[in-house]
Symmetry: C2
Subunit: 406 residues, 2 copies
């Protein structure tokens, strides 16, 4: 296990790298000693401006809007820092000027007894709550489906554990007189600018989740102790704990309590669990609750050679809507298992837990896998059935890998 | 309450500001839109290079080695991000090149049955544990002592809540055969370069804490999910949960289990609770355990005008060695109190808790104070007795302030 180097220097260098594109000579722009390895590998494309502040050496850029965390870049201190948290935007982010006046951002609330438009400033007067959740792209793990469904081939890195702070949605509803009759869904609409000349419903980011999430949902303006970065949905983002990324609406501009699910394509026919090779249909299950899942981060497939002796096998485990109870680790591909220890603070049922298992390894090749159990005694599935969108892969076997110990 | 703006842009601008000094024209060096306010106020001195990556607009620079977090910069999501965490170095930080090979950093272990020198690589094979602690400078709150003792006039910002990850000290001791006979203290020595020509004992950073801390102490290589920044003690720092900052040795190069406290000046005569105006003496209590303390962050003295209506009064409360049980808030300087709600995940007894109290405020002037109670039913003290070093100020009255509501 070889943890990466000083994030501060990397960040500087990442900026340095970004600046190369726009300054005539940035070699003298470093304010700390040069790193022994470049922050951005020679073959890697620099990140686009809206995420140029990310720790580029710790991430994998698939496209300008799909960037994942390297498996080796997850630390063991539970939280995922903003500068190494994955990026997945269904539409280009709105202009960054929207965070110039964070408190002035406004959101329409509909489907309550007294509907009205609220600014972030007003929301801040209605309550403060803080919740840790796993934020995970619906397609995380898609790269491990054998049939290679179309879409970004995410490995484990389209996920992170984040501490959000904002106002509970239930407090906003209470302040506006309660739910209107017939509300069965929480529907959030993102504030992205839509392309001209095409049906807005075909591209807009608008998702509905069951009203049962009213108890836990949050309108967040802060992430890990800092104002919510623009690239992650700032000034304001809907957080639906336990639900996959797409349901956590960035730049939220409308929050509606509706009788029906949104008829936007992203809800109606997008993000559905459909049989392989078939188009999505509204009759199929929506990609909502995340499943029970775990994976090993160290030593990892990208850790480099492992030295014989005692090795601390560590990773993360998440329960979706339930807390994780236990994690088992196998070094022989699942033939035999040992129970790992859960370490560190428990940030609640929507967060992930860190686990560690010390194992003495002789030289040889090992197939490392892990599987989690939740507090309802469910075990993580061995294999997630294929689906046409390649969503919600949580199979423990596919998330394993081999390491060679010398 | 007006939370600060996008940290990513600020960070960029902070770099931009730092770069101004070394590039001929940095106006075109921004990769995001210009901020409406400058990251570094015109009158503020840019941060020195080793901390140039900090979010300068959110901090107060007293000197190059004493930099605190603004009260308004504490969020409500418990953790304090590295880029707004305070800086207090007793000696200049070693050259940043020490983090070029983090795993190669070595530390001598003495006072065990099998003393030896261990690299971080070896420590990483011995165990992983994760602990959240309040890191707080011994002098935090000094600025609120009426007698103005000499030293940095910290307000509330020489503190933060950090999630550390590393190996438990007890695991290292176990791996080296257990403690040698007579060990009564854990003594850590920092790896700072000492100035030539003066007695090393007079300047070296070497502190001893009671051996009772063996259960909880950690050798940390990671902070909030990223490799421990050089400015905060990376590659390796001793963390003594519940103990004030100076006991958490940065760049630790020697860990000794000793029969006596260190005879370095910083331990022998420094950091002692002495009567006002008197020099420190080894017979006086060392600045070790932190006390029960809380303060309000928003609305704060630097929040700006507060609008009449419901206001969410929020802040943090820490118990030192015990968990916090309760926090009360007063808007009339302590004449009447209301119990606040503790919000967010509980990161354990060494972390702080966030608290929130919604209060309806009519136009007028209010004196905001808060006081915490720990699980042993102790209440935070109203006034901390003065001491010559101005240490460990935890008095609730002095940490209050007035706000005007219009």
């Amino acid at each position: 296990m070889d943890f990466p180097r000083d994030p501060s220097r990397r960040r500087l260098l990442a900026h340095g790298a970004a600046l190369v594109a726009v300054t005539s000579g940035a070699a003298h722009a470093q304010t700390s000693p040069p790193a022994s390895t470049p922050a951005v590998p020679a073959e890697a494309k620099p990140f686009p401006p809206y995420v140029a502040w990310k720790n580029q050496s710790q991430m994998i850029q698939h496209t300008a809007t799909t960037i994942e965390t390297k498996r080796s870049a997850y630390g063991t201190s539970i939280v995922t820092p903003a500068d190494r948290l994955y990026i997945r935007n269904n539409l280009p982010a709105p202009d960054a000027s929207i965070v110039n006046d964070r408190d002035g951002w406004s959101m329409a609330v509909e489907g309550v007894r007294s509907p009205r438009t609220l600014t972030v400033r007003e929301l801040k007067s209605m309550g403060i709550e803080t919740t840790a959740t796993v934020l995970q792209c619906s397609g995380n793990g898609r790269g491990y489906f054998p049939s290679k469904p179309s879409g970004t081939k995410w490995q484990v890195g389209a996920a992170g554990c984040v501490i959000w702070s904002g106002v509970p949605v239930r407090s906003v509803v209470a302040a506006l007189g309660g739910l209107a009759d017939g509300a069965r869904f929480i529907t959030g609409t993102g504030g992205e600018k839509l392309p001209d000349g095409i049906d807005p419903k075909s591209v807009m980011v608008e998702r509905s989740v069951p009203i049962t999430n009213l108890e836990d949902a949050l309108l967040a303006w802060e992430m890990n102790g800092e104002p919510l970065p623009h690239a992650h949905g700032g000034p304001l983002r809907l957080i639906v704990p336990g639900y996959s990324g797409v349901n956590n609406i960035k730049y939220i501009k409308r929050l509606a309590f509706t009788a029906q699910e949104s008829d936007a394509a992203i809800q109606k026919t997008g993000y559905r669990i459909s049989p392989p090779g078939q188009k999505h249909s509204p009759s199929e299950p929506s990609v909502w609750e995340m499943g029970l899942k775990s994976w090993i981060n160290g030593p990892g497939p990208d850790t480099g050679p492992v030295k014989a002796g005692t090795v601390q096998i560590h990773g993360v485990a998440m329960g979706g809507m339930q807390a994780v109870k236990r994690v088992d680790v196998s070094i022989d591909g699942g033939q035999t298992w040992r129970e790992a220890k859960l370490v560190g603070p428990d940030l609640g049922r929507f967060a992930w837990r860190q686990f560690v298992l010390p194992v003495k390894l002789e030289p040889g090749t090992y197939q490392l896998v892990c599987r989690a159990q939740d507090v309802k005694f469910n075990w993580q599935e061995e294999t997630t059935p294929e689906n046409s969108g390649g969503y919600l892969n949580a199979g423990w076997r596919a998330h394993g890998f081999s390491v060679t110990v010398a």
